[in-house]
Structure formats: C-alpha cells, structure tokens
C-alpha cells in the first residue's frame, strides 16, 4: 500500500539519518601492552585495564577496538610453568579484538605460541613471519585482521624485528622486515577492504615515514621493546604513537568527519591505569593465579645476606653480584674452567635488601626462561670472541652482555665493537688463545642464542637420556645447600671508560 511504503521509506531514512548522519563517525582504539608479570605491581594491571575497557566501551557505545599490544606471554615465573596460558586466560576476560604478537611471545618457542592461539578467544596477529612447516604463518596466527566498527573496516598489522630469531633462538620461523614486505601486507589489507590501516611495530625503519606519509598505513603504534632504553630508536612522525611507560594505556580516537570522510583525524590520549579501579572479577582471576603460583613457589630456600640489585640496565651493562652467583654455581656444577651467562636471562629487575629470605619465586622471577645447563669446549680465542660479542652493543643495553665465573676481563665502550675487550685472565693467568677450556653455560648460548656462535662446541649430545637441569634448578639447589649466600661484585668485569 503506497501509504505504508512511504511511511516505511521515511522511517528508513530517519533511521539511516540517525545512524549515519549526526556528526562525525568515531572509532576508538584502546592500546595496552607489556604486562607479562601479573605479580609485579610496577607494571600495568589487567584488572584496572578491565575497568578502563568497561568504561570506554560504554562511553563509545561499543565503537572501541581493544588492541592488546603483546609483549606479555613471557617471561615470568608463572609463564615458566604454563608458557603464558594464564595471560591468555586473563585476556579472554578482557575480550580484546586482537593481540599483536611481539618478541616476548616467542619466549617458549613457536609451538607453544600456536597452543596459546588455540586458547585465545581473539586473533593473534603477526604479519611478517613465515614458518617453513606451513609455508605460511605459524599455525593459529593471522597475518592481519580487519575489525568492523561503526561502518568502518580497521585493519591491523604487526611487524616483528629480524633480531627475534637470534635473540629467542628460534629454529624455524623466519622474519622479513623489508619495505617490500611491509608494503605488501598493507596493500593486502587495503585490498580486503580496510579503510584504515594500523601498524604495530618495535624497531624503526626510515621507510615507515614514507608509508605513513603516503597514507598506505594510516597510523603506526610503537610497542616498546628492549631497544628503547638507549633512546636511539625514536622515530618521530605525527602518526606514530607510543606509550611512554609500562603502567599506561593509549586511547586513540579516530574521527571521520562528515566533511572529510576520506581523511580521518586521530587524537591520542595516554592514561594512567592506576587511576582506574580494579575490576573485581578480573582481580579474582589474577589473585587465583597468584595464589596458585604462591602455592608452587613459596618454599623458602635460603637467605641473602647482602643487598643485590638485578635492575635491567645494571645486569646488561656491568658485573652483577647475583649473576656472579649464578655463574659460580654453573661452573661448580661442571667443575669447568669458566662459566658464562648472558644478562638477558636475568629478568627480576628488582632490588633486594640484606637478609632477605629467598624463595623459589624469587629465583623463578630472576630466571624465568627454561634454559638448561650445558657444557662446551672452547679455545681461548673462541672465548675472547664471545666476550667481544657480549660487549659489542653495550651502549644499547643489550641482553647479550656476558657475566662470567672463573675469568676476568676489562672492556671499554669507547673502542670500536670487536675490539673492546682487554686483559682477559682465566683463573688468574692470562688467557691462552690456543688452549682448550671447559666452559659451563646454558643451552641458549651454546645453541647460538643472541648471536653467540663461538660457544657452540657442545660436549653432551642433545639426545642424551639423562635430564639436564634448568639453570634455575641448580641455582635453587645451591642456595638450599649453602643456606646463606652473600655474592659480591669482585672486579671480574672492569669497565675502563
């Protein structure tokens, strides 16, 4: 009936108008990342993040996209047990639209990450990696994701840096960081209908600016990584956004104005998570995990009689008392000539006062990676090369800095890389470059982790039946045996500048 159809048409228009007209269209991106230790109150708190999300989702009438930036599946004491499942479980409660995979997600290697993607009720995105087993992405991961919100298709990319393979000792995955690849992925998104492309990255490339200027990528979000400490990696561009500290979240409001529907504007706001209340449900979840972890790790193992500091910058640039204890334990285990461990293995980032009672949890926090003891045979020359590699990028505060036992050396960062180490002494005697020494270390370094090629002459075959203990295992056993420990800094590593 014409009357009815007219009414319908009017109603339809009215509805359309109320929906599409009004003023501008908005989509909000909520971005948070690097929250790997749920027991660490210095980091952002998932519970408070949940409150933030609830609030914003309500305000934005569900036009917000929660992007979890990653960098959280490890390492942490709990992750040592469940390889990050608990983070996925907590994130499930926060219902992200997607998570961008960063380096730390690979803390327990490729297959565990696949398992996590199975447990996640949201997609995990990594745009520039290939797994030779699948000739595509790692099983369960997505190359990109498009989220439909408010009539717009927002596409997301996650670009990983090549150093990932070496630093995390990945045997399968290959990372491609060239401009061609990044461009290709962005174009794919456009072809799939994305009208707004977001790229999450860590390592700077000059061509990003180009891509942003050309509009192929609308905005880029920098997920903080280890490289940030040196502040040599900042890339400034109006469309590059980042969070300045771990306890914050980023709110990006994308507005398509009615007048300029093809040229959206983005405003950003950084919020302090501590300003939000805790979400009781998520808090309960977190507490349960913490409680279970306590149950597992609360056993006291000994007493620390002196203050020690395992701050990130310290363990990666200078001799450290805790690291000395670890290397001494390692050396004693194999009755070796020298022992090595890299600063990047020590993750506690914590200051301990004298007479602290140490628990398993403390050690699990300091040594959360599941690296096993290994012994290798190395010539003096190979040891020298390893030491050089360890201080080759000390100004960038890299995890490759070597802590030693049974040997001492000096280095100067003003010298060129590859020529910084002097005065190497093994057991008080100058090093003999031609002599073979027995080296105790972990399988990470012995397998070439962090670029250490020279310690690869392993003495135990990997197929041997006896289980080799983890570094954390022997450290715990040693502290238990000694009861009280008082490790010191002893001029094993002398910095000359």
């Amino acid at each position: 009936m014409p009357k009815l159809s007219t009414l319908l048409f009017l109603m339809g228009t009215f509805l359309a108008a109320t929906n599409c007209l009004a003023d501008d269209q908005q989509v909000q991106i909520i971005f948070a990342a690097n929250m790997q230790n749920i027991a660490n109150s210095d980091q952002g708190n998932y519970s408070r993040l949940s409150s933030l999300l609830n609030q914003q989702r309500q305000i934005q009438e569900n036009n917000s996209i929660f992007v979890f930036g990653g960098g959280s599946l490890g390492p942490s004491p709990m992750a040592g047990f469940d390889r990050g499942s608990h983070i996925v479980d907590i994130l499930n409660s926060l219902e992200p639209d997607l998570m961008t995979v960063r380096k730390r997600e690979f803390s327990y290697y490729e297959d565990e990450l696949s398992l996590r993607s199975d447990e996640a009720a949201f997609p995990l995105v990594a745009s520039n990696i290939i797994d030779p087993l699948t000739s595509g992405n790692i099983e369960g991961l997505y190359n990109n994701v498009i989220i439909n919100k408010n009539g717009h298709k927002v596409g997301f990319l996650s670009i990983l840096e090549e150093e990932l393979v070496q630093e995390y000792l990945l045997n399968r995955v290959k990372v491609f960081e060239s401009q061609t690849i990044v461009e290709g992925q962005a174009k794919k998104l456009r072809r799939q209908g994305a009208d707004f492309v977001v790229m999450v990255f860590s390592k700077k490339h000059a061509f990003y600016k180009e891509l942003l200027d050309s509009g192929l990528i609308n905005i880029a979000i920098r997920a903080r990584s280890d490289r940030d400490n040196a502040n040599l990696n900042t890339l400034t561009h109006p469309n590059i956004f980042s969070i300045t500290d771990d306890d914050r979240a980023l709110l990006l409001n994308i507005t398509w104005s009615a007048s300029k529907p093809d040229d959206p504007t983005v405003t950003s706001q950084e919020v302090l998570l501590n300003e939000y209340p805790e979400d009781p449900l998520v808090s309960m979840q977190i507490n349960e995990y913490n409680h279970r972890l306590d149950r597992l790790l609360n056993q006291t193992i000994g007493q620390l009689n002196v203050p020690i500091d395992t701050s990130r910058e310290l363990v990666r640039t200078q001799e450290n008392a805790f690291a000395n204890f670890v290397t001494d334990t390692l050396r004693e285990y194999y009755q070796a000539d020298v022992a090595f461990i890299n600063g990047g293995s020590i993750r506690g980032n914590k200051k301990y006062i004298a007479n602290t009672i140490l628990t398993r949890r403390d050690i699990a926090t300091e040594l959360p990676y599941r690296n096993r003891v290994t012994r290798a045979s190395a010539t003096g020359e190979q040891i020298r090369q390893a030491l050089e590699h360890g201080v080759s990028e000390v100004e960038l505060i890299r995890g490759r800095f070597l802590h030693v036992s049974g040997l001492s050396y000096s280095f100067s960062s003003t010298q060129p890389s590859g020529n910084r180490v002097t005065n190497i002494k093994i057991n008080g005697m100058p090093i003999d470059l031609n002599k073979r020494y027995l080296v105790a270390t972990d399988d990470y370094l012995a397998n070439g982790g962090d670029g250490f090629d020279s310690l690869s002459n392993k003495l135990d075959s990997t197929s041997s039946n006896t289980a080799l203990p983890l570094i954390s295992d022997i450290v715990i056993l040693n502290i238990q045996k000694l009861g009280k420990i008082a490790p010191l800094i002893e001029s094993r590593v002398v910095r000359l500048d």
Binding site: S85, E119, A121, N148, R295, A467, D473
Partner: protein, 547 residues
C-alpha cells in the same frame, strides 16, 4: 757365672713384653679389621636403608608421574560424562597411589610439596572440566531450545494450499526471522569474543527491528510472544549469549590448564630424575670411596699382619735363644754333673735361668762338699770296700792302747803294690782299680783272725794291723800273704821283676817292752818298706834300728 755388667731382665718381664707385643698386634689387627667392617656395614646400611629405597621410590614416582600425564590427557579429552567419570576414577586411583608412595618421604620437602600441589591442581583441573562439560550441556540445551523456538515461530505462518503466496506481512515475518536465525547461528559459532559480541549486538538489533515490524504489521499475539521468548532465551542472564561467551572463555582456560598440568608433571618428573641422579652419583661416589678406602685398609692391614707375623717369628726366635737354649744348657750342665764330669758351662744372661744354674751349681758344690764330708766321715774305702785310713787310725790307736793294757805285741804290715803306676799307665785306670780291689780282697782273705785288720792306706798302699801277734806270728802271716798273691797270678807284663803283680812289705812290731805309738810304728813300717823296695821288691823287711 753371672756377668756383673749384664742388666737384669727377669723372665716375667721378658715374657710380659713379648706377650704384650703379640697381644697388641693382635688387638690392632682385630681393631682395624673390625673398624673397617663396621664402616663398610654403615655404608651398606645407609645404602640399603636410605639411598636404595630413595632411588627405588623415585623410580616408582617417576613411573606414576608419567602415567599421570596420560590420565590428565584422558580427562581433558573426555567428551561424554561416562568417559569423564572413567578418566576421573583412573586419575583418583593414581593420585592415591602417588600419595601412598610419596608418604614414604623422598626426604626432599620440595618434591613432596610438589606432589601435594599436583594433587591439588589435578582436583581443580577436574573441577574445571566438569564446569566446561556443564556449560557445554547447557549451551547444547539452549541451542536446541532456540531451534525449537524458531521452528515454532516459522510454523506460526502456515502456508495454506489455497493461498498462492505469502502476504507482505507474512513475507516480512519469514525473512526477518530467517535473518535473525542466521545471525544467531553465526554468533553461536563464532570463535572470537568481540566478534561474538558484535554478532549478538546485531541479533539484538534484528530482534528490535522485528518487534517494530510486529506493531507495524499488527502481528498476532503468538508472534509477539515468540519473539519475546526468543529474545529472552538469547539475552537473559543465563541466556545463549552468556553461555557462548562463557564457553569460549572456559574452553581456553581448560586448554591452558591442561598445558599447565602437563608442564607441572613434566617438571616434577625432571626434578625427580635429577634428584635421583644426584643421589645415585653420591652413592656411587660414596661406595667407590669406601671401596678405595677399604682396599687401602686391606693393604695396610695386610702389611700390619705381615709385620705381626715377622715380629712373632722374631719373638719366637728370641724365646728360643734366651730361654730354650739356655735351659738346654742348664740341662746339659746338670746331666754332666750327674755323670760326674767336671767342666762348668757358662750360662749367659741375668735372669731366673741363670739363677737356676747358679743355684744348681751351688747345690752341686754343696753336694761335693757333703760328699767329701761324707767320705771323710765314712770308714770304708769306696773302691776296695775294705777299711779306709780313718778307720785304720782309729783301729791302730785302739789296738795299741789295748796292747798296753793287755801287754801284748801288735804287728803292723805296710804293703805297697810294685810297679803300680806302670800298671795303671798301661792297663788303664779301671784295670788299676780292679787290681787294687783284687789285692785288697786277697790280703783280707789272708788274715784269719777276727781281730786282724786291713785297711787301704793310700793309693796303692795297704796296712794290716795284727794285735796280739809277735814277730814269728806276724812273719807267718806275711808268708801267707805273699803266697796268696803269688798264687793269684795277676798278670803284670810291665813289671820288671816278675810277669805277675807283686808287693813289697815293711813290718814293724810294737812290744810291751817297747810300746810304739801309731805314728811311730807306721813310720817304722814305712822305713822297712823302703828297705824292701830297695832290696829288689817282691819281698819284706822287718824294721831294725840300724835301717
């Protein structure tokens, strides 16, 4: 003889020392052996009471732990209630087994704690699985419910064979319902949380739009009701949307928890293996050390035993020398003494044996003295068994005194065997003795009267005392004696006067007119004998004052 400078070592002390040494050696060896045995016993005991059971227990626990993994898997994958119950049963059995094993205490509080925790975790995991099953059931029921409702909703419009097609409103109802069902289905099957939320938001929109159309098209009460019911089924607090979201979360959580359990049990197994290996290594080291120790001790003990044996031999040698030999010497000495041989063996040393020897010598000397004394006291000549000189003196004295009282003469005959020395030298002393005995017997037999007396006066001299005998009577006796000896024919090759033993005799008479004292009469007889010897032997001479 005692050497005066010898230090005195009494036999008691000597034996004492020797026995002490032997005893000490024996005790030392015994103690060493015993202590080694005790030590080894301790090691073995420790091994069998602690280390071995620990290793065995660890092995059992390791086995059980790997079984646990299997059952955890089973539980996680159990899809039906029955499978779940079965898996749970198996799991509980295994947990009980492990608990009983671990109650034997691995003596490692961490590993024991770990078992407890694994137990707790398994219980919680089992709980989670029940929760998931529960949600699954409810979700399935709700879906079923939902489809029933939709079917019912579709049935509300029945196409009657008489109507060629649906009316506008009917078509609108069907298409809207279809769209609703489609979106709802999508929402149910979506795997991503936000996607689910988005889809359910569209479902809500669709429902609302249907409800608006309801009023527009004046749909029936039934139609309105069914839409309301559908809405309620989806959006109530225990509705489809909630169930789908919960299901997604729970599925993820269960998967995560299963991985966690697996890793926990694997870690436990690994730590168990490491601890066991350490214990094994320790035990082996201990045993090896003990074996080495024991070997060394055996060598030491062997050495000491060897030394002890050598020492014992030395001691025996000493005993042999110092005691047995010297005793032998003493024995020899005594035997010699008994045989009458002279010659004193020198007994070396300064102890009870020398005391014995000395004592014996003293006794021997005493006996000698006694013997001499005895001999002195006796009146019989030991060899010839006739009277001896002492007896002679007494008798002569007596007879002279009697002759004074009774005024008679006493004749004294002094007899000497001729060439007796030559006899002795050539025939030997034993023959000489026999000759003396024979002569003594002959002379004794030749005297007939009771009162006549013969005695041995010296080596080869005899004296006869004939009381109450004057010269003629005496000479008669003398003649008789000579004839008896002659007739005896004792051979004497070396006599230069006769090939028989002869005698020379001197006679002296003591008359009442001229009484002679014993010494005097013997003196006279001696002179007469001398004369007889000078007269050529084998004769007699009577004393006269011009001799």
């Amino acid at each position: 003889m005692k050497k005066p400078n010898n230090v005195r070592i009494p036999l008691i002390r000597f034996f004492g020392i020797a026995l002490s040494i032997i005893l000490s050696l024996f005790l030392l060896v015994t103690w060493l052996t015993f202590s080694r045995l005790v030590n080894f016993e301790t090691v073995l005991k420790n091994f069998s009471e602690q280390a071995l059971p620990t290793i065995v227990l660890s092995g059992e626990l390791y086995n059980e732990a790997s079984q646990l993994l299997q059952f955890t898997d089973l539980l996680a994958n159990a899809n039906s209630d029955a499978a779940k119950r079965l898996a749970e049963q198996e799991l509980n059995t295994y947990i009980r087994k492990i608990k009983s094993l671990s109650s034997k205490k691995l003596d490692d509080s961490f590993l024991d704690k770990q078992l407890e925790i694994i137990n707790l975790e398994l219980l919680e995991f089992s709980d989670l699985i029940w929760q998931r099953a529960d949600i699954n059931k409810k979700l399935a029921a709700k879906r079923q419910n939902m489809y029933t409702l939709f079917t019912h909703a579709f049935d509300l419009i029945q196409q009657s064979p008489r109507k060629p097609s649906y009316s506008d409103s009917e078509e609108s109802w069907i298409s809207q319902l279809s769209r609703l069902m489609l979106i709802t289905d999508q929402a149910i099957n979506a795997k991503r949380m936000q996607e689910v939320r988005g889809l359910f938001a569209r479902v809500k929109q669709q429902v609302m739009s249907i409800q608006i159309t309801d009023t527009k098209h004046a749909n029936t009460i039934e139609q309105q009701n069914i839409i309301r019911t559908i809405k309620h089924t989806i959006f109530a607090s225990d509705g489809l949307e909630h169930l789908v979201i919960s299901h997604l979360k729970l599925t993820g959580r269960v998967k995560g928890r299963e991985n966690f359990m697996r890793h926990l049990i694997e870690d436990f197994s690994r730590l168990l293996e490491i601890t066991t290996n350490e214990t094994k290594t320790n035990i082996f080291k201990q045993v090896a050390l003990s074996v080495e120790d024991t070997e060394n001790q055996i060598n030491t003990i062997g050495g000491i035993i060897l030394m002890a044996i050598i020492l014992m031999f030395i001691i025996l040698f000493f005993i042999q020398n110092r005691i047995l030999k010297r005793l032998q010497n003493v024995n020899l000495m005594v035997q010699n003494k008994i045989k009458g041989q002279e010659g004193r063996n020198v007994i070396t040393g300064n102890d009870e044996i020398t005391d014995l020897a000395d004592a014996f010598n003293k006794f021997a000397d005493t006996i000698e003295i006694q013997k001499e004394k005895l001999e002195l006291m006796s009146l019989t000549d030991g060899l010839t068994k006739i009277a001896n000189r002492r007896a002679l003196d007494i008798r002569l004295q007596h007879d002279i005194e009697l002759s004074v009282r009774q005024k008679f003469s006493v004749a004294v005959l002094l007899i000497d065997i001729d060439f007796f020395k030559l006899y002795n030298d050539n025939y030997g002393h034993s023959a000489g003795d026999e000759c003396l005995k024979s002569i003594a017997q002959i002379i004794s037999n030749a005297l007939q009267r009771e009162s006549d007396f013969v005695a041995r006066y010296g080596g080869e001299e005899f004296v006869c005392v004939l009381p109450n005998t004057d010269l003629p009577g005496a000479l008669e006796r003398v003649q008789h004696i000579f004839e008896s000896i002659q007739s005896q024919n004792l051979a004497h090759e070396y006599s230069s006067i006769d090939k028989r033993v002869t005698i020379s005799m001197g006679v002296a008479i003591s008359t009442p007119q001229q009484v002679l004292m014993p010494e005097a009469i013997l003196k006279q007889a001696d002179v007469a004998l001398y004369m007889a010897k000078h007269a050529g032997k084998n004769t007699y001479k009577v004393y006269s004052s011009n001799m």
